[in-house]
Symmetry: C2
Subunit: 408 residues, 2 copies
């Protein structure tokens, strides 16, 4: 974990154990630091898995490994390495992933394809196989740890540990979902965020779990951005151990399916918001609602154009009600928009409509809204029924300080 905790941090929640999930951590010493950096989650036989991964054309070998393993839909273990993403490392990187899967499979007596691997950290340095194997051997015999220790171990530049819990009633049983996540910079997930892991005791067949996760992802991880930079390693995996004893969820209209999907969607949204709250240098949590677009997809693109605009983000950092920069960001989005139908809201205050500032515009309530930690911007395009909501943070000196000397 980095030095100063984000001012937007939330306390670590009380998290229950999930049946069929055992967590352990160890020191692989991927960097010259004195902290655990290898997380090992053992999963009960029969665990179903689903996942979403980065759309980057330069994915890490871990991402490629997970994609292949997801086709089979079974999981017995998750290994997460922090401090080295192993991305862009060619055959040596692939060999490291295969070695981790093989060693874990040997320990558990399962198939290597039952082992999911994720790594996060600097790009371009092959993950040292000897350290990974020694770390794994230490993890295999370590005492089980709690969620907080596992969450801290998957983190890198994160300033606080991020996790959430939701519940649903399925087939008369209460099932529990716990998610842990890491990510702070290089956040513009394109189907997923840095690294997020969800564990549930619900019995869920893998295809159902995949559909539910993909839908939840579309409204959560795909709707956040810190800095518009998409990682080579973005991965969200969901594991369902089935120890809750419900009749396995399979059909989309089965009993409890709606409740499970809602709980998963809620969990993903909580986790996504936590990543924004730990955005590098963030001092404001910003929600952007776009309505009146030609389509939901168009609304999403306009919202992302506003959310990724350095000028909008620095204005909010300066608590400056410079709504003209929102006009600029809408104008550059490349989506259907007409200046003279555009309306803009800050908090509950309408600031512009019909192509100009509202008559008698009073900046005082907007300035007051911008003083708070939670900022809301509303954009109505006046074109159609499309709508979208995205979340981001402001752009501050902290972002520059963190990223101008990250490797040093």
């Amino acid at each position: 974990m980095s030095s100063a905790v984000s001012p937007l941090a939330l306390p670590f929640p009380e998290l229950p154990a999930i049946g069929g999930v055992t967590l352990r951590v160890a020191r692989a010493r991927y960097k010259t630091w004195d902290r655990c950096d290898l997380t090992y989650a053992e999963l009960a036989p029969g665990t179903a898995v689903a996942g979403v991964t980065t759309q980057s054309r330069c994915p890490s070998p871990e991402v490629e490994w997970c994609r292949r393993a997801l086709v089979l839909g079974n999981a017995r273990a998750l290994v997460v390495n922090a401090g080295n993403s192993n991305a862009f490392t060619g055959d040596r990187g692939r060999a490291a992933v295969e070695a981790i899967a093989a060693r874990t499979a040997g320990h558990l007596g399962c198939m290597p394809s039952d082992v999911f691997v994720a790594s996060t950290g600097v790009i371009g340095v092959p993950l040292p196989i000897d350290r990974a194997e020694a770390g794994l051997d230490a993890a295999f015999v370590a005492e089980p740890c709690d969620w907080r220790a596992a969450t801290e171990t998957i983190g890198t530049t994160d300033t606080f540990a991020k996790a959430a819990v939701t519940r649903a009633v399925v087939d008369g049983r209460t099932v529990t979902l716990v998610g842990i996540i890491k990510g702070s910079g290089m956040i513009a997930p394109d189907m997923a965020t840095m690294l997020g892991f969800i564990f549930t005791d619900a019995a869920v067949e893998a295809p159902f779990l995949q559909r539910a996760l993909s839908a939840a992802n579309a409204a959560s991880f795909s709707c956040i951005t810190v800095d518009s930079d998409t990682s080579t390693s973005d991965t969200v995996l969901a594991f369902a151990t089935g120890t809750a004893g419900n009749a396995p969820l399979a059909a989309d209209d089965s009993d409890g399916a709606d409740a499970f999907r809602a709980a998963l969607a809620d969990l993903c949204l909580q986790l996504a918001h936590l990543v924004v709250r730990d955005g590098e240098g963030a001092s404001k949590f910003i929600r952007i609602d776009v309505t009146g677009a030609e389509s939901d997809r168009s609304a999403h693109r306009v919202a992302m154009s506003v959310a990724n605009s350095p000028l909008v983000k620095t204005a909010i950092a300066g608590e400056d009600a410079n709504w003209g920069r929102v006009v600029m960001a809408v104008g550059k989005a490349g989506e259907a928009a007409e200046r003279d139908r555009l309306a803009i809201r800050f908090g509950n205050t309408q600031v512009a409509e019909g192509g100009l500032a509202v008559s008698g515009y009073d900046e005082a309530p907007v300035a007051a809204h911008l003083k708070g930690q939670d900022v809301e911007i509303g954009v109505d395009l006046g074109m159609g029924e499309g709508r979208a909501t995205v979340w981001t943070c402001d752009l501050t000196h902290g972002y520059i300080s963190i990223n101008a000397d990250y490797r040093s």
Copy 2:
């Protein structure tokens, strides 16, 4: 002009007078500042004009006015207002532009459509007509001024005055082209940059001038970015007074056409580079060459993805040879790319090829290259013959400081 001069600033060049162009400046007091903020250029009868303007869906009324006037291709005057962009101001903004054109036309005895108007500054505040008219009246009777005074008067957050000169021989006559430009932030021109004005004494018919300017723009203003934010007011206008006495350039293959196009392209590239050199907070001038793409268009998009990546830009600000961030930016560009064919160069040093760091990679020459003010990044995609070059600057604390309290 703002406080600290960019470390990348170049000295103001020696600029000759252009026959048929008379410059004057005045104080319209668009802001509470004690400086000239209205520039008035009077152009000889018969001056041809061409222009390129922002692709923003929320253009300023000045941009709309220029687009309509460009259809006619004749110019007698240019009026530039600094300190207020007049963008997103509805009918009041349109009325201000019409008033400026009408008053100038009355003074010169020409058509309002012969008067070109451009404004730059804060968005959303109608340009005060009374101040514009009083400023114009003062300009009409002011002593003519030099290029430097006019260049300083069109500037806002610019830290140095930016201008360039080129020459060509057309029809046995040496013709001269002078360009002045302003722009520092909100720079991701989509067909044009903030405000640039080119004056030549060559005789050029308007359609030829438009074709030449559009071509020059595609390789200059459209290939720079400071912060990925596209202005509502981007405008580049080229005026040809014809006082050089050459036979007017009209056909693309006429004598001197190549020389004129080359001089115009060189001028536009010089001006575009000056804007990058005055990028808000810039400490490094960065050139990005992409080769081996599927097409030139694809290469341009990959180059812009690298140029706009906050993580690449902050790494360079920190003189950190973190080439993994270039991999990330290529991967997120959404263009055809294959990780294992990708090669990356910093300066003259190959750092990665075939999907991993080069064997025996020595960071020392790369670190030395990054210490300099001029940074070159080469990306070869290994896919085809497409290539592109773009220019940008780094992202520093200066950008945050300038933009977090711009209006205050």
